[in-house]
């Protein structure tokens, strides 16, 4: 592998790691928000 191959590999790994973390974080946020909305929705119905 030439120098630019190593450079591409390093920047590729770095970019993929950060992007993957961001995507997973957004997914966890969406799931947590959905769970909270479901809980608060159920709670609201229960008190009516």
């Amino acid at each position: 592998m030439g120098s630019w191959g190593f450079i591409g590999l390093a920047y590729g790994v770095g970019s993929v790691a950060l992007l993957l973390y961001l995507i997973l974080l957004k997914r966890r946020l969406r799931d947590a928000r959905d769970e909270l909305a479901a809980l608060e929705g159920d709670g609201g119905r229960g008190t009516r």
Binding site: W4, I7, G14, A17, K26, L29, E35
Partner: protein, 249 residues
């Protein structure tokens, strides 16, 4: 029992306005600024700055490798301070900051190890060697992965926060040791060329993309930290809601 303690100690989670349903404007601005600054730094580092006289083109990996580890150090410093504040005040807001910052620090340390390994293969001819700097960085990574595992598997949230805080404070001692390792021992890793007595030994033309990428990663870290803390806030609010429903039921 866990939810009871979370809800009792997290009044911030019950404030609907601040429950973090959407990212704040500041977080969005930080994310956008991070993309612009990192794109500028990467363009300068990959296309504008001349190759290093000794290492050649492959030295360009340093424009990602060094800002990653410095930002990881900052992330673990935030964990260190937040953990001390948590043990002192027993306020889960500090714990939320600590666990959020630790997660991002682990990602950045992983990137540092990976990019360093790739640079090592091209320069030294090996992917890994048990050099003091490399080994201490791997230990740092392992300590904070252990911290996250401890937090994930703790059945009692406040006990997990307490033990985690102690581990985070002790684990932080690895960082000054890691920084000084290249001065104390004969290492294959080059000595510090930026944070050293007498100022940086790197040419200004190479310092500029390093500084810009560092600024970009700080912005990205801050954006990710705000988003990760938002996740903690939503989780705490869900725990509090479950507890209230349990009380009514």
């Amino acid at each position: 029992m866990g939810e009871r303690t979370v809800a009792a100690a997290v009044p911030w989670a019950s404030e609907r306005r601040r429950a973090g349903a959407r990212p704040s404007l500041a977080a969005k601005a930080l994310g956008a600024a991070a993309v612009v600054v990192l794109a500028t730094g990467l363009y300068l580092g990959l296309a504008v700055v001349p190759p290093d006289a000794v290492q050649g083109e492959v030295q360009r990996i340093i424009y990602l490798h060094v800002p990653s580890i410095v930002t990881a150090y900052l992330a673990f410093f935030v964990v260190f301070c937040s953990s001390i504040l948590y043990l002192w005040k027993r306020d889960l807001r500090f714990d939320a900051v600590a666990v959020s910052s630790a997660e991002i620090g682990v990602v950045l340390t992983g990137i540092t190890l990976a990019t360093g390994s790739i640079w090592g293969k091209s320069t030294w001819g090996v992917w890994w060697t048990w050099d003091a700097r490399l080994t201490l960085t791997a230990i740092l990574f392992t300590i904070y992965v252990g911290y996250l595992m401890l937090r994930a598997f703790a059945e009692e949230p406040q006990a997990g926060a307490r033990y985690g805080a102690v581990l985070a404070i002790i684990g932080f001692l690895d960082i000054p040791l890691n920084h000084l390792a290249v001065q104390w021992w004969r290492t294959l890793h080059q000595p510090s060329s930026i944070l050293r007595p007498g100022g940086p030994s790197v040419a200004l033309v190479m310092l500029v993309p390093l500084a810009i990428n560092f600024a970009g990663l700080i912005l990205l870290y801050t954006y990710l930290l705000l988003e990760r803390i938002r996740l903690e806030r939503i989780r705490h609010r869900a725990a509090e809601t479950r507890l209230k429903r349990g009380r009514r039921g």
